[in-house]
């Protein structure tokens, strides 16, 4: 089923998606927001550029974007997969609790902000290029990987990564000598164990984007974890 989005607004697009039980190709997409918001069991291919909040509250299924995506992709996502064959805007995966977001290119500001994890749900975000400032701010769970491949930017990550981080893990394919981390995180070079973990995350990603997994794994990775899951414990005095 093909939905020509050229003359449809977001409400109509979502109605059409519901009519075909979420299995469709959307063509000529140009900035329509909220596509597949709150849906599950979908399989959507998008040609063009979807607007903000693509797959917000997504509860399962797959969205593939053949182009760039804008802001707030996968906001509060619970499950499923979003694949972007291009760059992605700001606040991708805000508070996502489950599922995977795979980005071929660069991510904007605040990627993976407040990402969580819960029981068996461990969200995963892989950014093929570089990430903007405030990567993984307030992260409390899940895994963020920045591969720094073919990026337009010089640095793998912008300013203030992992500020307020109190859970989860960030992998950056870089020595990160030029990156300033906040005091409450621990940064170290990836160990063999970390690489095995990385391999399990990267297999599907490398398949999707036809990348050489071994070549990627052969590089230096920096691992960032929080030093406490209770960063503000000593901040208060009862009054």
């Amino acid at each position: 089923m093909t939905i020509d989005a050229a003359d449809l607004d977001y409400r109509c697009i979502n109605e059409e998606i519901r009519k075909v039980d979420g299995k469709c190709i959307i063509t000529s997409c140009l900035g329509q927001r909220f596509i597949a918001s709150g849906m599950s069991n979908i399989d959507i291919e998008i040609e063009g550029i979807p607007g903000n909040a693509l797959g917000s509250y997504l509860n399962g299924g797959t969205i593939t974007v053949h182009g760039n995506a804008q802001d707030a992709v996968g906001d509060t996502m619970n499950d499923g997969k979003i694949v972007v064959h291009g760059n992605i805007g700001d606040a991708a995966g805000y508070a996502m609790r489950g599922g995977r977001i795979y980005i071929k290119g660069d991510a904007g500001y605040r990627a993976g902000i407040h990402m969580k994890e819960y029981q068996e749900k461990v969200p995963l975000m892989i950014i093929g290029g570089s990430a903007g400032s405030f990567l993984g701010e307030y992260q409390s769970g899940g895994v963020i990987i920045v591969l720094n491949l073919n990026s337009r930017r010089q640095k793998s990550v912008g300013f203030f990564p992992c500020t307020g981080m109190h859970g989860g893990k960030v992998f950056l394919r870089s020595r990160c000598e030029d990156v300033v981390f906040p005091p409450q995180v621990i940064r170290r070079s990836a160990t063999d164990e970390d690489r095995n973990e990385l391999r399990s995350y990267l297999e599907e990603y490398c398949d999707l984007f036809s990348l050489d997994l071994e070549e990627i794994l052969f590089s230096e990775f920096t691992v960032v974890t929080p030093d406490s899951k209770n960063p503000y414990r000593r901040m208060y005095v009862a009054n």
Binding site: Y10, G38, S56, D75, R97, H114, K116, K229, N230, V237
Partner: protein
């Protein structure tokens, strides 16, 4: 150590001639104030731990106990009051940010207490609510500007989704985690029985309470705790929390120690991890961005549920409300600076925000001036203490009110303002199983129903006295109000005349 010693705020007075050494006080105090000295066979007290929650006093079978203000104190000083000095002691020993609970206790003007309600005499006679029909039902949501008719001349009834309430009162947001399972259960059951709503707060919705969904507002805050598709579908409305009256401009940190068992499960986060709600929603920097969140929620729930945007009453609230009214939200909830909280930095609680009375009046007037008042309903909260406050809030321009502190008091809260300790002796603001079990859900539910039923009757009596027989006719009816002891400016903001005028 000795510099930091703060003289206890209270003395425990035990009338030895009445005390029968039954040790109920020992059992009831989770703070460990009462101790039985086995050797001497007497009860002693450690009043440094007393928070004056009145639990022991209420349960002492011989009324032998009194908690009284400790007469020992610093030399009196109209500028450096003992609170100010003691707070400096606490901070200079710990380096910590002062943390307090419940609403702003400072001596700011309470405008509700300076507003008087009208009554009919001779003309436009009063209505007796016991004898004549009186409507307290309200609908919250966008109202149509024009009446549309079909080709047969019949009115087209296609309104935006509405909340129906049997009376203009709802229980405002208190998260599971800040209050106990039993407290949530009582609120949910009372709301269902009363035909009103309660609000999950930002801590998610416990699986046991999905059955009360028709009477539940589910909240989405910056931390997005427990927010998923089933949760959004479960409630009858969705509230986006932008701010809270007790702590405008800041977020919340529920400490990891309280994120255990069902609280972690309901928030859908790992046990023991701090639940941090950032101060801003990091995807909202403008009204346009707010609109995006409003419509992502509407899309996710297929436009079946009204969306509420809750903000704290702050300076320029009227302009903020105007922006919210244009964001696509159906309802704006405004929380005044006296609103309660399970924990807030003392300085924020006591110094930030404005009284709800002024906020309601200025928002209602501003939205009317802009011709968009019907686009949005207005819910006011932040220390609504009685049915008279409800009537005044509605006459100032609110569609309905939010109550939380009053509901907690109905369930047994004695306002000791120590929620942050997690040792609530009344089983409300605690997650300790032995304390939670003290709150009998059935009793608490009945007390909530009693309170609201009594308020509803009082509202009808006050309306009847004014010759008004529906909430709709009271809404924004400021002619029914007069101020007393207020300045011209205050009267101007409230949009009311002075008593005697």
């Amino acid at each position: 150590m000795s510099i930091d010693f703060i003289s206890p705020e209270f003395d425990v007075s035990r009338n030895e001639s009445r005390c029968i050494k039954c040790r109920i006080c020992v059992r009831e105090c989770a703070n460990g104030v009462h101790i039985f000295d086995e050797k001497r066979g007497i009860l002693i007290s450690d009043e440094t731990k007393c928070v004056n929650c009145q639990r022991c006093v209420s349960f002492c079978p011989t009324r032998a106990l009194k908690i009284i203000k400790n007469p020992n104190g610093l030399k009196s000083n109209a500028n450096w009051c003992s609170d100010s000095v003691n707070e400096i002691f606490k901070q200079s020993s710990s380096g910590g940010v002062l943390l307090s609970s419940m609403g702003n206790p400072k001596k700011y003007p309470v405008y509700f207490d300076r507003i008087l309600i009208n009554a009919s005499q001779v003309t436009n006679p009063p209505i007796d609510p016991l004898r004549e029909p009186m409507e307290t039902k309200v609908f919250l949501g966008k109202k149509s500007d024009v009446i549309e008719r079909d080709s047969d001349g019949k009115i087209k009834c296609s309104t935006e989704p509405q909340i129906e309430l049997s009376m203009p009162i709802m229980f405002s947001a208190m998260s599971y985690g800040s209050i106990s399972y039993n407290a949530h259960a009582a609120l949910a059951r009372a709301a269902t029985e009363l035909g009103i709503l309660y609000n999950t707060g930002e801590g998610g919705l416990h699986e046991d309470f999905y059955v009360y969904g028709k009477n539940t507002i589910v909240q989405v805050a910056s931390g997005r705790f427990g927010v998923h598709e089933d949760y959004l579908e479960a409630g009858c409305a969705i509230e986006i929390k932008m701010g809270q009256g007790a702590k405008p401009g800041i977020g919340g940190h529920l400490p990891g120690a309280k994120i255990v068992g069902d609280v972690a499960k309901t928030r859908m986060i790992a046990e023991g991890s701090d639940a941090i709600s950032p101060a801003p929603h990091h995807d909202i920097y403008s009204i346009e961005d707010l609109r995006q969140l409003v419509f992502s929620l509407k899309e996710a729930t297929n436009y079946k549920k009204p969306v509420i945007v809750k903000v704290a009453a702050v300076h320029n609230i009227a302009a903020i409300a105007s922006g919210i009214a244009r964001s696509g939200a159906d309802i704006i909830a405004i929380d005044g600076f006296r609103g309660g909280t399970g924990a807030a930095p003392t300085r924020i609680r006591d110094n930030v925000g404005i009284p709800i009375e002024l906020a309601i009046a200025s928002v209602d007037q501003h939205l009317r001036n802009e011709g968009i008042r019907n686009n949005i309903s207005l819910v006011a909260g932040g220390s609504i203490r009685s049915s008279a406050d409800v009537v005044k809030a509605i006459a100032l321009g609110a569609d309905a009110v939010y109550v939380a502190s009053a509901a907690l008091i109905a369930m047994g809260c004695h306002l000791c303002r120590n929620c942050q300790s997690g040792k609530c002796n009344w089983g409300i603001a605690t997650q300790r199983a032995e304390l939670v079990s003290r709150l009998d859900v059935e009793v608490a539910k009945t007390r909530l129903v009693n309170l609201m039923t009594a308020w509803r009757h009082e509202i009808m009596e006050m309306m009847g006295g004014m010759g008004i027989n529906s909430i709709e006719a009271l809404k924004g009816n400021r002619l029914m109000l007069r101020g007393i002891g207020m300045t011209e400016k205050e009267l101007e903001i409230l949009g009311i005349s002075h008593a005697g005028e």
